[in-house]
Symmetry: C6
Amino acid sequence: MERVKTGIAGLDKMLNGGIPLHRHVAVYGGPGAGKTSLAFEYLYQGAKEGEGGIYITLEETEEDLVANMKNTFPMFSDIDALIQSKKLEVVKPDKLQMEDVANILEDRITSNEVKRAVIDSATMIRLSFKEEIEYRQTLFEFLSLLRNLDCTTIVTVEATSPRKEAIVFDIEHFVMDGIINLYNLDREERRIRALEVFKMRGSDHSRDLVPFKVTPSGIKVYVGERVF
Amino acid sequence: MERVKTGIAGLDKMLNGGIPLHRHVAVYGGPGAGKTSLAFEYLYQGAKEGEGGIYITLEETEEDLVANMKNTFPMFSDIDALIQSKKLEVVKPDKLQMEDVANILEDRITSNEVKRAVIDSATMIRLSFKEEIEYRQTLFEFLSLLRNLDCTTIVTVEATSPRKEAIVFDIEHFVMDGIINLYNLDREERRIRALEVFKMRGSDHSRDLVPFKVTPSGIKVYVGERVF
Amino acid sequence: MERVKTGIAGLDKMLNGGIPLHRHVAVYGGPGAGKTSLAFEYLYQGAKEGEGGIYITLEETEEDLVANMKNTFPMFSDIDALIQSKKLEVVKPDKLQMEDVANILEDRITSNEVKRAVIDSATMIRLSFKEEIEYRQTLFEFLSLLRNLDCTTIVTVEATSPRKEAIVFDIEHFVMDGIINLYNLDREERRIRALEVFKMRGSDHSRDLVPFKVTPSGIKVYVGERVF
Amino acid sequence: MERVKTGIAGLDKMLNGGIPLHRHVAVYGGPGAGKTSLAFEYLYQGAKEGEGGIYITLEETEEDLVANMKNTFPMFSDIDALIQSKKLEVVKPDKLQMEDVANILEDRITSNEVKRAVIDSATMIRLSFKEEIEYRQTLFEFLSLLRNLDCTTIVTVEATSPRKEAIVFDIEHFVMDGIINLYNLDREERRIRALEVFKMRGSDHSRDLVPFKVTPSGIKVYVGERVF
Amino acid sequence: MERVKTGIAGLDKMLNGGIPLHRHVAVYGGPGAGKTSLAFEYLYQGAKEGEGGIYITLEETEEDLVANMKNTFPMFSDIDALIQSKKLEVVKPDKLQMEDVANILEDRITSNEVKRAVIDSATMIRLSFKEEIEYRQTLFEFLSLLRNLDCTTIVTVEATSPRKEAIVFDIEHFVMDGIINLYNLDREERRIRALEVFKMRGSDHSRDLVPFKVTPSGIKVYVGERVF
Amino acid sequence: MERVKTGIAGLDKMLNGGIPLHRHVAVYGGPGAGKTSLAFEYLYQGAKEGEGGIYITLEETEEDLVANMKNTFPMFSDIDALIQSKKLEVVKPDKLQMEDVANILEDRITSNEVKRAVIDSATMIRLSFKEEIEYRQTLFEFLSLLRNLDCTTIVTVEATSPRKEAIVFDIEHFVMDGIINLYNLDREERRIRALEVFKMRGSDHSRDLVPFKVTPSGIKVYVGERVF
């Protein structure tokens, strides 16, 4: 099985080498859990290795996102260069519509040799629908389209509670090929970041909950360490 | 009472020999709990013994599902051969409609000597309805149709929480003849897989919660072992 | 006060002799809790004593239900004979409508000397209504009709959680004359069956939670024993 | 302050002598908690002392209710006599409408010297409305009417959970002058009955939770005893 | 900052002297928590000091409310005198409409030198709306009106649970200037009354939970004592 | 990265120097948690340093808000002066509409050299919509507008529970650049104020829960101290 390295060493180890090629993974967690950082580093590490990536942001502007990532990862000194060379593209669609997102993706993947994509976040699209059923159908059709494209995708999904016990599975968990849960856990009056690979179709993976940090030189996943 | 062996040794023991013939069993669990693996192995083991099987996938494409299963079970070296010989068929209907699923099933069972069927998942059909009542009627009618066919079926159902305490019973639990619950439990910062036979009409069965693993050579159910 | 023996020794003891004549009792529990077995044995034991009984099944076919009960209770060797002699009748109405159920009941009770009836389950009827209010009115009218008939009825009701603490009372609990709760409790990684008589209008009754088993020779209720 | 003795010794003590005259009290509890028994004894004890009472039953028939109460309280040997002498009347309105209940009450109170009334239960009326708002307005208007009549009323209200912690207050708790909570508590695998006076406008009252029993000679409230 | 003494010694101490002048405070608690008693004493103590007060009752009749308060506070021997002298007025509007309440308040405050007002309860108005949004707008407009009047107001609000942990904040908590929570807590099978000042805009206040009692001579707040 | 000092020493330390310039932060907490005090001090401290600020109040009148803040912070003796010099402006829009809020902001920021803005609260706008979807779109568009203005904004958001475990994330948490949670925690029958920086895009920050107080000379955040 071919795999796409996320470039985050500990995470690739947990994934037995990376995300299976052409699979589509949900990164699920509450606000501040690190979803955007993880998704961005996935593209950045790919771009450094020559794999084109596109980041579709539905919440922040392109400028804010890039500025935030440069601040979050000051050691990633070549972000601007990668953007200029089109290895890394950040796009904010004019409208909050899955159709626009799909068109942009399709266009870039066929014409720009993009191999990695991020959609941040599916929740913004969900919240733009009045009826859940319409979102579900849209997401389902979008996934069908993705399955025909030559790319490996991370879709961020917002959790509605910081508590691990309060996870509620929904359509995104059912249709995506994999789920990586990010937590912002409460340990003796401190928030501790932790992650687990919850589901990965067709691939064995670590089943541990492990602490991680967002550091200036990238995300560090502490495989083998305990959270509590 | 005639029984259909699942071919998963520990599970057949828990079921007192297998699923009662012509009964229809829900395999219920959250994302990543192992529903697809269990359902696929049920068909695979039957096909190896000469019993035709059909896997109706409503989430993944046929290609992805087969690739995932070959990766999950590398020791099942004859999957392709069984597919080629039509002993094992994987179908993705064009539409998310119970009627299509029913037509495919009816057709294959009468013409292809299919004895085992899997529908993965009922939840995808549920989510395609705007009104719950329509889903219920559709499921009910579908079950009525199944009861007239010469096959023994597994229907996967998505749980909305990983916690055993949070099970909520719904229409699928009420109308299906049996329920096998799969869990992805939280044990000291590790996810542990466990299962129980929760209901099996007309048959005694184990009432234990037991750990299981998805291994390269098939699912192993550790009857008699403790989860915690 | 005249009473109808259920024929399940421990249960009759808990009920101070049986269900009060012409009263209508809900048997409430989750899937796999033993509702169908208990309701069927109630009819079977009556039929053996010469009291005609009718089982209205809204989930399973007549054939499946009888086959399942013969498998569940292999020592009840005269089930077929009782069915042939019309002492025990199993009927599946064409439609999921309370009106049909009512007509069948009325017809059999007046013409066939039926004294015991089972409706399995009220929940199937509930789920066939789009609006709760319509179900409530239908159930209420149905109960009014039942009160004019010369029979003692068990109506099964599906619980939506296996946890004893999660019981939610609803219309069936309010309008029925009695409630017997069946549980499938979690005791150290085993499911243990337990029951309690929760309500019985006009009659004293045991207020204990007691374990029970579904055995080949009938349901055994272990009065005086502890569950945990 | 004038008070109406319930005739249940322990309860009258907890109420500092009885229910304040012309006040309207909710008796709140789950199925099997003893609401009907308590409400009926309130009327029975009044009738024995010469105070006319009317029991409006919305769930059971008049015949069933009287039969049940005679079975529940075999030592109340004069129930039939009190009914014949019109000191105690049990009425089931043709329809589930507050208006009918109001008309019956108004008629009996003015013409029959009725001083005590029971409505069993407000929940049946609630469940007959499609919209909560209509029930609320109806209940509110009904209370306004009651306040102009020369009677002291008990209205039973169904709880939806047996757990004391799960009480949810609703419109009946807000508009009624008093609330007596009945519980069917879980104590080491036994159901124990307990009650508390939760609210009584314009009157001091016990604030204890106390056990009670429904005995052949009437309800016994064990003031000063502990439940657990 | 000018303050209005509630006249309840312990409470005034907790409030650092009283309710800030022209502010509007929610008294929040379940049925039987003592909301009406506290609100009434606030007016009574003001009237004794010469400050006119108006009590707008939306649940009880004027007669019942006054009778109940005379029974609750037998030592307040001059209630009738204060009512006769118009220092204390109790009004029940004909309709459950905020507009009526507003008109009455506006009229009395400008013409009768009313300085203190009570509205008991906001919940009754809420329950009279079919749509929450209409209630919110009405309450919001009503608060705007209040802010232009020369009075200091207590509005009672019904809680839906007796448990302190189950507080749910809603529109009343957001728009009112202050919140005093009253509890009817469960302590070893007794209900214990306790209160806390939860919010008071522009004023420091005690942040303790303290026990209180409704005694014949008025409410006693036991500042410095523990509840459990 | 340029930062805007809140002027609250402990908080600026937790934020690694202040709120990132041109970012928009939600201050989230229940009633009485200190949201208004924190947001106001943010403007006040800016005004003292010469940065113009505008406070848009949707709950209180301008007069009440200013009076409350002068009472809360008696040591901020120059509030009136700052208001007179237009360094600090408090505005209550005529209507509860995001459009009005946007117009006021846009106008002041371009013409008055306003650099800091507060909107108190987003919840008031939310509650003015009948449909959630409309609020979401409005908030989203409003954020888009804010992103084009030269200001750094605090938006207060009302929590619906005082319990830290009961946080529910919603649209405001997803679209805002940062979240500061304020709590009013229950510690041995006292309410203790605590805060945490939960999310801050593009910036590292403290991940501790720390106690804070609203004192006459401003908010004191006790970095390094424990709450329990």
